[in-house]
């Protein structure tokens, strides 16, 4: 492989599309190459958005099983004193084949040791990237990571037993959530409220693109005004709530004005049944001065 090729590898790496046998070389180049490293970071952010676009509501059982499992899963201590080291990644499928319940206590106690026991094979690599790169190419150093993997991959039977104990032992899981519930209520933002509101409804804008999600019980609307074109620097977008043709400014939309996606939370007052966006001079206007570019009507 030639050097120019290596410079092209950032895309392949960010998409997890590097075959295992090529990954170590490509990665070490990407991390040492001055232009590649930030590019890789930006590509990962980009890929994260690609991934987000695939969002799909999970089954309700997932939350329960995850919350039950974290209740019995210790956490790794922070790394101190030196850059994040390469911590052995988890390789679910392989270890799962041979669960070794007897090994678990040792694994538990071995947790703090994993940091120092694992060679910092790529000190400049953000720990965040660990699952991607280190996982597949890690085969040669498998010896050093087995304990951790095992620990991470606790034999599922054991975990299942612990979870069962937890649930049988008086609904502990539920209790935990009940305790945390009220606190979350008080800290809830309009955004969260809308996201969780049973009465939320999707409004189709009468004008313009994007979506609006309205919840009467939250008295809030979540607007997605993606699709508004960027405006010159001396202009901005301004959001209005309108009641009986009386517009009230809800503020500017700086991101949308810059041509970026913007989600806003609007809090309509009683009687305000229309949300609208206009283009205004930078700094905003006390009243709309141009035609409405985007408009959605709240359920009457």
């Amino acid at each position: 492989m030639t050097t120019p090729d290596l410079h092209l590898d950032t895309g392949v790496l960010a998409l997890d599309a590097m075959p295992a046998d090529e990954a170590p070389g490509a990665l070490s180049h990407a991390l040492s190459c001055e232009s590649c490293s930030p590019e890789l970071v930006g590509f990962r952010e980009t890929a994260a958005l690609l991934g987000s676009a695939a969002a799909e509501a999970p089954p309700a059982s997932l939350r329960r099983s995850i919350m039950a499992r974290i209740a019995v899963t210790p956490q790794l201590p922070p790394v101190t004193g030196r850059p994040a080291t390469q911590v052995a990644p988890a390789k679910p499928d392989r270890d799962r084949a041979a669960p070794t319940p007897a090994a678990t206590p040792a694994e538990v106690s071995a947790t703090p040791a994993e940091v120092s026991a694992t060679p910092p094979d790529s000190p400049t690599q953000p720990d965040s990237a660990t699952p991607t790169e280190s996982a597949r190419p890690a085969a040669p150093s498998a010896d050093t990571v087995i304990p951790l993997r095992r620990w991470y991959r606790r034999p599922s039977a054991l975990v299942a037993a612990a979870v069962a104990a937890l649930v049988i032992g008086g609904g502990s899981v539920v209790a935990v959530r009940a305790i945390s519930g009220p606190a979350e209520q008080t800290a809830q933002t309009p955004e969260e409220c809308v996201a969780q509101a049973p009465d939320r409804e999707q409004l189709t804008p009468a004008k313009g693109q994007g979506t609006a999600t309205y919840s009467q019980s939250c008295n809030a609307v979540l607007l997605d005004v993606t699709g508004l074109p960027a405006v010159p620097a001396d202009k901005t977008y301004q959001l209005w709530a309108i009641a009986n043709n009386q517009p009230r400014s809800l503020g500017e939309l700086p991101d949308a004005a810059a041509g970026k996606p913007q989600v806003v939370t609007a809090r309509p007052n009683a009687g305000e049944t229309v949300l609208a966006i206009t283009a205004e001079p930078a700094g905003g206007s006390p009243k709309p001065t141009t035609d409405i570019l985007w408009q959605a009507t709240l359920a009457s």
Partner: protein, 209 residues
């Protein structure tokens, strides 16, 4: 027009105040980075909030890659347990919390789909995908709706070949060699397409670099 509420919400009186998605209660941390930090301190409520905002994305991406919903559920569970365990290792200087979580998710899903066993299942394309299941209504995809739209729009700005290559690599979990084979293109060409496509996507999506 009735008099404005004095609900304690930021209101019209402050027109210069940019409207951003979150703003009302500074005491309530809610960026993914904040939630990861609190999760690292062992706060289950913070972790649960992370689940609420990322559950749909993690599960959805896993599902897109591994296809089988029950395997996707396993992957999502692994990812969240890893988030819980490794929250202390998240370093905000090295990228966003979202990227950390989604990178982890994708890597896990791809691991799964590339393992021999999954390879067989994958061909089955699991048609029982939409068997009735109880959906978690708390986990919300509202935030994702706009991302989805932006991503779709930006994918539309790619050349057909860039889009195909990226889709096969990212959503189907193929290696670039497999992509090259599927599209009967030389390996360097595929690498270039993936990179050029990502550059265009990155710029279109306004990802800060």
């Amino acid at each position: 027009m009735p008099p404005p509420h004095s609900s304690g919400q930021p209101q019209p009186g402050s027109p210069r105040r940019p409207l951003t998605a979150v703003s009302d209660d500074p005491a309530a941390p809610r960026t993914p980075e904040d939630l990861l930090r609190l999760t690292a301190l062992g706060q289950e409520s913070a972790f649960e909030k992370l689940y609420d905002s990322f559950g749909a994305r993690v599960f959805g991406l896993a599902r897109r890659v591994v296809r089988d919903p029950s395997q996707a559920e396993e992957v999502a569970q692994e990812v969240f347990l890893e988030i819980w365990r490794r929250a202390s290792r998240f370093d905000p200087a090295k990228g966003s919390g979202t990227a950390w979580i989604m990178t982890m998710t994708h890597a896990r899903a791809v691991d799964r789909v590339r393992s021999a066993q999954a390879a067989t299942n994958r061909d089955l394309k699991v048609a029982q995908a939409s068997t009735e299941r109880e959906i978690d209504t708390v986990v919300e995809a509202v935030e994702s709706a706009f991302e989805r739209k932006a991503v779709q729009r930006c994918l539309g700005t790619l050349t057909e070949l860039q889009r195909e290559s990226i889709t096969l690599a990212y959503y189907s979990g193929y290696t670039y060699r497999e992509v090259a084979e599927l599209l009967t293109a030389p390996l360097p060409t595929i690498k270039t397409r993936l990179r050029d496509g990502l550059i265009r996507l990155r710029d279109c999506l306004g990802v800060a670099t």
